[in-house]
């Protein structure tokens, strides 16, 4: 019965895809490219070069690159929604030990938040047409960010854990940037 339900969901999703793509939030990707560009620049600006002593503690978080395939608007949209909101929340607290530039950090957060709000507004418009699906990709991304969150908590948000996380976020945004440019 679960499988049948799932099939119905997928069927409805495919049916609704054409309706969704014609809605007016099509201008968002153009703005997103800029936000990602800006975010990368600000991530660089907020701190100094990666400290050598933190190399020992480097961890592999293994970003789930399969969530960006196929290179379609819909998959990328899901990825962007998750990435933006998780980065926003990770960087919203316990930053004292990171000792980064506060103004730059504020600009970074502000830029991400604006995009999140716009993405939310676009989703609400589609709500009557869309049907909730399992969205395996979302879950994979949530797992990835949970690993980073746990890592930070375990290290009590010390400087090295923050620097490692910052480097990881940079990598993540760069991946998204590459995919968006090719769309």
């Amino acid at each position: 019965t679960m499988n049948a339900f799932g099939l119905i969901q997928i069927g409805l999703l495919l049916l609704c895809t054409t309706t969704i793509s014609s809605l007016q939030c099509n201008h968002l990707p153009l703005q997103q490219r800029k936000v990602i560009e800006n975010s990368l620049q600000l991530l660089d600006k907020m701190g100094k070069k990666f400290p050598q002593q933190c190399l020992r503690e480097k961890m592999s978080f293994r970003f789930p690159e399969q969530v960006l395939k196929p290179r379609q608007k819909e998959t990328v949209k899901v990825a962007i929604e998750e990435i933006f909101q998780h980065i926003f929340y990770i960087f919203s607290k316990n930053l004292t030990l990171a000792a980064w530039d506060g103004t730059v950090l504020e600009q970074f957060q502000n830029g991400l938040y604006q995009q999140i709000e716009q993405l939310e507004a676009c989703v609400i418009k589609k709500q009557t047409h869309y049907f909730r699906s399992k969205e395996v990709n979302r879950l994979k991304l949530k797992k990835y960010f949970q690993k980073i969150d746990c890592f930070l908590k375990d290290k009590q948000h010390n400087l090295c854990s923050w620097e490692i996380s910052r480097a990881e976020m940079r990598r993540c945004l760069q991946l998204i940037d590459k995919v968006i440019r090719k769309l």
Binding site: M2, H27, L30, Q31, K34, V35, N38, L42, V78, E81, E82, Q85, H86, F88, Y89, S92, T103, E106, Q107, Q109, N110, G111, L112, Y113, Q114, Q115, I116, E117, L119, E120, V123, I124, Q127, Y130, R132, K134, E135, R138, L139, K140, K142, K143, Q146
Partner: protein, 491 residues
């Protein structure tokens, strides 16, 4: 598959149990099965229940704190999972449903921040409300909080407060304007808040900052461009009015989304012409390296051009150019064209006003003057030639006629008085002239003008010329001509 026993769900007599403590991986698929036991008898396992904790979990109700002041309701929402160590969700949006506590009341639904103010309510009225937490991206809605009812107070219209707070932004220069009806001395502080801070549950009241240059001012306007340090991100602004008696009042807030609030000014345009091409040079609004070009990185231009004739039905053509230089090529020669341009950004759906018009004329066709010139030249030449020939012909005829009928030559002196009446008649008649008997004295041929020997005279004059004795040099040509004429007549 390795099945594990669920703690807290072993040997339970009720038909339900709480196994939350066993769930550690929220995003993984879990399988659950159950079987009944009675003494030593064991039932077969039930069918497998498959689930992902994250997907199956229901969002609980949020907590609400309300405060009724000055005709508005201040609300503070605490998230579901507030006191949990491990949270399933990170990001909620809150949906408020509010209605008047009367019959046939309309429900109003709006999105609110964790700390927010509900205004546009009627004073001295009881309102009931409830709030739910939602996950917009996952289209999940949580359970509503219990309904709470509260009465709004009277609205005290403090004249001190700044009103009609509005924004004017052109080419990324941002100005805040407001009005004030307070009769006495007022000074203002303009404050701003970065947009993302509103998302904070812990509130942001201490986060409002003064706009530099707009502290303790008496002007009812403020240039806050300095705080717009990044083009991506919202800002909220408000005006704090302060009276002499240390009374202050905060105005309503306005929200600024820099690239959306901003108006793009018109570009500048310069036009050059060569052949049947118009070269357009556009200067971007605000200058070439301004905040405008940095903010709207997809800035393009629409160039409108049309023939400027007295006929007002000329079609206006348009060309889109992405750089600041462009060329218009489908033009006609010798025509006055007018051009104007408009800047626009597709990503932000914004366009500027038009630039000033520039009119310029395309040069004429090179081929046409050549043919005209050639035709003109040839015909002119032909006309002149004919005229010259005609003039020459007329002149010749005139001369001949004049000579024949009105000769201008004088007879030689020695025959001058002779036969004057003879020359009156048009014809020379061979009249008889007195002759002399002459005889040849000498064999030397001399110039003896002999009437009867006109023929000989002719010969002698010819030969005597050589000798140089001939002294009629002055009349040589004249007499020669007249000789010939006479000879012809005689013959």
């Amino acid at each position: 598959m390795e099945w594990k026993e669920l703690p807290g769900c072993q040997n339970v007599t009720r038909r339900e149990c709480d196994f939350s403590s066993a769930i550690t991986e929220y995003y993984d698929t879990h399988h659950v099965r159950v079987r009944a036991e009675r003494r030593k008898e064991v039932s077969p396992w039930s069918s497998i229940f498959e689930m992902i904790p994250y997907v199956i979990a229901q969002i609980g109700p949020p907590g609400i704190e309300l405060q009724s002041t000055n005709g508005v309701i201040k609300i503070k929402v605490s998230p579901p999972e507030e006191n949990q160590v491990r949270k399933l969700w990170i990001h909620f949006q809150y949906n408020l449903v509010i209605w008047e506590n009367s019959s046939n009341a309309e429900f109003r639904s709006q999105s609110i921040f964790p700390t927010d103010v509900i205004d546009d309510l009627a004073p001295d009225t009881t309102y009931c409300l409830k709030v739910q937490a939602t996950l917009p991206f996952e289209l999940q809605e949580g359970l509503f909080s219990p309904i709470r009812c509260i009465k709004t107070t009277r609205k005290v219209n403090d004249l001190l407060c700044a009103t009609n707070v509005s924004i004017f932004a052109l080419n990324m220069e941002f100005y805040l304007h407001w009005n004030n009806q307070y009769k006495q001395h007022v000074s203002y502080n303009v404050q701003y808040l970065m947009g993302y801070l509103k998302k904070r549950h812990e509130g942001y009241s201490g986060e409002w900052l003064n706009v530099p240059g707009c502290e303790n001012i008496t002007d009812t306007q403020c240039n806050f461009s300095s705080i717009i340090t990044a083009t991506s991100g919202f800002y909220h602004l408000r005006v704090q009015a302060m009276s002499e008696y240390n009374k202050s009042c905060l105005s309503n807030e306005v929200k600024v989304d820099p690239l959306i609030t901003n108006e793009i000014g018109p570009p500048g345009i310069k036009v050059d012409v060569s052949d049947v091409l118009l070269h357009i040079q556009i200067s971007p609004p605000g200058g070439s390296e301004s905040e405008v070009t940095r903010g709207y990185d997809d800035l393009s231009y629409w160039v409108l051009y049309w023939k400027n004739s007295s006929n007002n039905e000329e079609e206006i053509k348009m060309k889109e150019i992405k750089q600041t230089i462009g060329t218009l090529s489908d033009l006609m020669p010798s025509t006055l064209y007018c051009v104007k341009a408009q800047a626009f950004s597709r990503a932000y759906n914004k366009s500027s006003h038009y630039s000033k018009e520039q009119c310029i004329r395309t040069p004429g066709d090179k081929k046409i003057p050549l043919t005209i010139l050639a035709t003109f030249g040839t015909s002119l030449f032909a006309v002149l030639l004919v005229a010259a020939l005609l003039t020459f012909g007329v002149y010749q005829a005139y001369n001949k006629i004049k000579y024949v009928f009105f000769p201008s030559c004088q007879p030689p002196l020695n025959i001058e008085g002779f036969g004057r009446q003879l020359f009156h008649s048009p014809y020379l008649s061979a009249t008889e002239e007195p002759t002399e008997n002459c005889s040849v004295i000498e064999t030397i041929i001399t110039e003896e003008v002999n009437q009867s020997d006109f023929k000989d005279y002719k010969h002698s004059t010819q030969s005597s010329r050589d000798s140089g004795n001939y002294s009629n040099d002055d009349d040589t040509s004249g007499s020669k001509v007249s000789e010939e004429m006479l000879e012809k007549e005689i013959v």
